[in-house]
Symmetry: C2
Subunit: 337 residues, 2 copies
């Protein structure tokens, strides 16, 4: 016997594909000066956002994004069956405190920067499985909360490696529904943890690329689709070097990803913004998906989209103890409604 809705090894094909009822995103000031600036619902003037600490600012951004998504969906918190969310701060406090304010039954996630896509995959299963009518999915990151937690005190002014990426300040939220008009989530490929032994916390794109490639190849095998079946394929936050590695890692086993493949971390900043390899963080794939990509789908420029949220599963402690950095990638296929 086989799970009914699973095709191949790791992919779910939804029987009643959940609908993206509404999406919202709020981004930081640096992101608001980048090429995707017009796709954000709101751009912060500064990263404190009127709060005393960066962590409180991230919580406020997270909560406002979730509330904005609900408002756009014309729904109230009481209409939502489950909230699935997470972020990068220790003990996912931005998500936890948002869940406290919204008081929706809450399932806390930790998928590092893949969290938005982990939430979309799971949320779609909860809806397609008949457990929920509406699910609210969200993820956030904040440059300064991540920098001081994972790397160095920002005051120290440590020089960043050219392979380093810039953690996106921003939050994305999506309301999924069991019915209605809009873009649908047709497939989800839940990733495995993959580790090629990369140990450099300044080169997360390289750490995550093998997992992204593994999930992409698995998705194509499971669905019988090839890159050409999608108008756009985007990984979450590999940056420019990680993207190149994914192209390398997949070229032997699948038709070329070609120009239709990009990365949210490549899209969100331009070269003049001095972010080195591009953007990263839970907020990276979250704001790019909830803004730019869904805009493209809604405007009819893309019909079929495959997104792979990518996460680097390190901790400062694991790096200090000599561990390498495993990665994970969760793929979600969307189709214009």
């Amino acid at each position: 016997m086989k799970a009914v809705k699973k095709i191949g090894q790791q992919t779910i094909a939804f029987t009643n594909p959940p609908v993206i009822i509404a999406a919202a995103c709020i981004a930081g000031p640096k992101e608001g000066k980048g090429p995707l600036k017009d796709s954000f619902d709101k751009v912060l003037e500064d990263i404190y956002y009127g709060e005393k600490t960066w962590e409180k600012a991230e919580q406020r951004i997270f909560q406002e994004t979730m509330e904005l998504a609900l408002e756009k969906a014309n729904l109230k918190t009481g209409d939502i069956d489950f909230m699935l969310a997470g972020d990068l701060t220790n003990q996912i406090i931005a998500a936890n405190f948002t869940a406290r304010s919204l008081a929706i039954p809450f399932i806390g996630l930790y998928g590092a920067c893949s969290t938005m896509y982990e939430g979309l995959a799971l949320g779609s299963m909860l809806i397609d499985g008949g457990f929920a009518r509406y699910v609210l999915v969200g993820a956030s990151s904040h440059y300064a909360t991540a920098e001081r937690q994972f790397r160095f005190p920002t005051e120290q002014g440590v020089q960043r490696a050219m392979s380093a990426q810039w953690t996106v300040t921003g939050s994305g939220a999506i309301v999924l529904g069991s019915e209605g008009q809009g873009t649908r989530i047709t497939h989800a490929t839940v990733g495995r943890v993959v580790d090629f032994g990369e140990g450099d916390a300044s080169d997360m794109g390289a750490a995550m690329a093998p997992a992204a490639a593994d999930t992409l190849l698995q998705h194509f095998r499971d669905t019988g689709r090839s890159p050409g079946d999608y108008d756009l394929i985007a990984t979450g936050d590999l940056g420019k070097y990680g993207r190149q590695l994914v192209i390398k890692l997949t070229e032997q086993q699948a038709p070329a990803l070609s120009d239709r493949y990009t990365d949210c971390g490549v899209l969100i900043f331009d070269e003049s913004q001095d972010t080195h390899a591009g953007g990263s963080g839970c907020g990276c794939s979250a704001v790019v998906t909830c803004g730019h990509i869904l805009d493209q789908i809604n405007q009819g420029r893309i019909k079929r989209f495959l997104g792979v949220g990518t996460g680097a599963l390190l901790s400062p402690c694991s790096c200090q103890q000599g561990e390498s950095i495993p990665g994970i990638g969760h793929a979600v296929a969307m189709e214009a409604g």
Copy 2:
């Protein structure tokens, strides 16, 4: 329209209740001297478990517990559709590195000490929803990794408050299946985050009790059941003071929980072990459920069990920034097969 499998506000009643195919638990040396010592599959001689660091020891315990559960279920990693797991270490590295070794499609969770029950609730939905035939759920904690991460360096020898609890060293794992013989998961009530303003990180039982009470009352309202419908009700890790608070908080709105209500943190240590208010940590509800409680059900002493995994959603950073400690509780009802 309403989600088909939901009853009341927050509860899922499973159409095809998932079966607990196998369970395993490994516990630390202190736990192995407590009243539940005979219910553990393995007891460690020391908390390093042959590793150089406590974190690596926790990873090893986690992985061995998951492998033991698979062995008992007579299944291989390739048979498992999803692994749902988490722990208390930053960036849930014990779970992440276990997922790397097992290479099962992985959904990382963070529900603080409620993680085992969050995983059981979600895993049951994935099976009942037709997305999986087998799901592997696990959670761990380790006294020393938690102590130095959340509180003080252990070398400092800070005196513990009488309301403090002792983080359990241990890991529990459960294989859920869509069919077979055994104890079944009939209901899951996913909790909301509740915060009564408790700010003392040495009194987590008080911080979590309101959430546990909220979920218990909601479960009774949603299902039309009362405490008397269960042979045993256990919260995850409230300890003796938290347990008393739950009794207080529920007595006005439901029939008395009475003697059939206990807490895993109360069961795991006895007074002579000087743990003060009892046990805590993801491992607390995990090892007590996977060992003692499932033993009781399998031996026919309990027919219906209601467990509420409880989590305190704090971080050292949120406490330092003056935040109170919200709690969450996820309830899972089990019935002898």
